[in-house]
Subunit: 361 residues, 2 copies
Amino acid sequence: MSKHRIAVIAGDGIGQEVMPEGLRVLEAAASRFNIELQFDHFDFSSCDYFERHGKMLPDDWKDQIGGHEAIYFGAVGWPDKVPDHISLWGSLLLFRREFDQYVNIRPAKLMPGVTAPVVRRDGSPRLAGEIDMVIVRENTEGEYSSIGGRMYPGTEREIVVQETVMSRIGVDRVLRYAFEVARSRPKKHLTSATKSNGIAITMPYWDERVAEMAKQYPDVRVDKFHIDILTAHFVQRPDFFDVVVGSNLFGDILSDLGPACTGTIGIAPSANLNPDRTHPSLFEPVHGSAPDIAGRQIANPIGQIWCGAMMLDFLGHRAAHDAVMQAIESVLSPGSGAPRTPDLGGSAQTSDVGKAIEQAL
Amino acid sequence: MSKHRIAVIAGDGIGQEVMPEGLRVLEAAASRFNIELQFDHFDFSSCDYFERHGKMLPDDWKDQIGGHEAIYFGAVGWPDKVPDHISLWGSLLLFRREFDQYVNIRPAKLMPGVTAPVVRRDGSPRLAGEIDMVIVRENTEGEYSSIGGRMYPGTEREIVVQETVMSRIGVDRVLRYAFEVARSRPKKHLTSATKSNGIAITMPYWDERVAEMAKQYPDVRVDKFHIDILTAHFVQRPDFFDVVVGSNLFGDILSDLGPACTGTIGIAPSANLNPDRTHPSLFEPVHGSAPDIAGRQIANPIGQIWCGAMMLDFLGHRAAHDAVMQAIESVLSPGSGAPRTPDLGGSAQTSDVGKAIEQAL
Ligand SMILES: CC(C)[C@H](C(=O)O)[C@@H](O)C(=O)O
Ligand SMILES: CC(C)[C@H](C(=O)O)[C@@H](O)C(=O)O
């Protein structure tokens, strides 16, 4: 098997602390499964870089990282240094678009040793595995558009508009991906997030395309819910869901809410995929740079490590993915005696957890 | 005190079943507190009306109901008869706009006798009163716009766009209302829902106006969260929130999610307010027409009754509001032995609950 070239961008805040643990586990997996990984490190796409260079990226960033198969990403954003909409549109959101990473995938799974904040109807706790869903998010268009502007600025008549843009190509390709994911899972159940009763131009179009695509997947059970009541269902009966597909905004919301319901938002992973492999895909933990806890070695590295597992899967190494996931689950298991960071009630350091997972592997 | 003229629209589905209970309790409150209420009933704004007349409303609907102080509303929508975006834009959403009901208010409160599906960090249940928030939603513009359309329909190049529109007038007036609500409550805490890191044209504007308005309310503690992580916080620490203000879409989502977290989505009320009183305000339960359980006398009427309390408050009868709320809470209380509908684990009929609350009053 040929060598995989991975661009490594640790970025801001706790990205710097969790990245070494992610790499540690990837290297262990690579040596156990005989995979050749080449890591090339880059210091751009961080607010520190911005402070030094006045921009988030060098002019030739595409040449530098565009030839890699994947980008292993920590976190970006440090609002006290650079406003979020500048740092993010100048890096992460730009990568998603320029590299056509049109699918964002986030699993929300109730893991052993993690207490879910949502309980069953009778008040009893939900058990590991009882919630197991995958959020598939459109990642390049929709509500995150760059078209719009302001009129009569600074006056009482001020008006600001922003377009939501959905293209048939953009909608269909993410729906197709979501249907394929649903088909590959035992429950074969796909839920579409909509709001066609209120957002009555773009969202009915989304519904139309879902209905059209469903014809090609008669083996997949499809339903749809308006986003408002869907968030309620996530809380009340998260075990109902299997694969959930949403527009850029709805997918963004659901892919934080889902992991929140499983108690894993601090350790959830995310993959920004270019399924056609014309450009690199990007793997990042959901937690972000977390300025409030940065620099203290208390961040939980499991999100970064879990992303690494998703990356191995994407690179064609399913067995290595499964092994890393098993190592994570065994370290999380209540009886394991393994170190836990403060967010999970322990007092271990970031690197203790990384080493424990490396060991378990 | 002069007579209040109320337009009554029961509408579709369970609206027909819960409305009589709402009226029953309002009449009891009126006689106890010596309030004169005149109820005028209308059969339009329902899908049945649409089936008979080919439209949701008669041409002179504004003359018929525009002179009332308030509209007491059941529910509208029956997708098998009329598509939602037609029935809703032809009635409820039209009322909100034409009557300039620019504030939508929904309380999310953990009530006695109701089990919340979200628990504390240690897994223990949350107690009545522990969650007590009010969602204030912009109700006339934003993401629910009527501007947009489709190009290259039916082809591979198809594109659909829809504008989000925010005006300074529209944003400021709902923010001012939200700050006033926050100021009137003991915690004086206002949270703004945003997504300025991703939706980088309209949402930074929203943030700007919040920051500007905050200067006029130095006694109110203000914070903001992006909508994705905010939904996570609703699940993980709902007790943190007091008043939460959001755009039309974000407010819509949060005002279902909030009541879901308190286990009250089936009984939550909602008020569509025109605070300037230039047109009637509208009071409706959150649950909607619920075609799946309609016609079986099992719907819970508490949402409709709770709305009635909000209407009494709006009409200036705070004591009557408080009395109805106390009656609701006493009937919900675990030890009360009062009838409960199936959604709360009982087997009572809709009217049993209405009568019990009338009695308690
Ligand atoms: C029915 C629908 C159009 C409506 C909305 O989205 O405003 C409803 O969800 C609500 O919150 O009142
Ligand atoms: C940081 C922000 C722009 C981003 C998004 O909204 O896409 C984040 O929330 C995510 O989900 O990756």
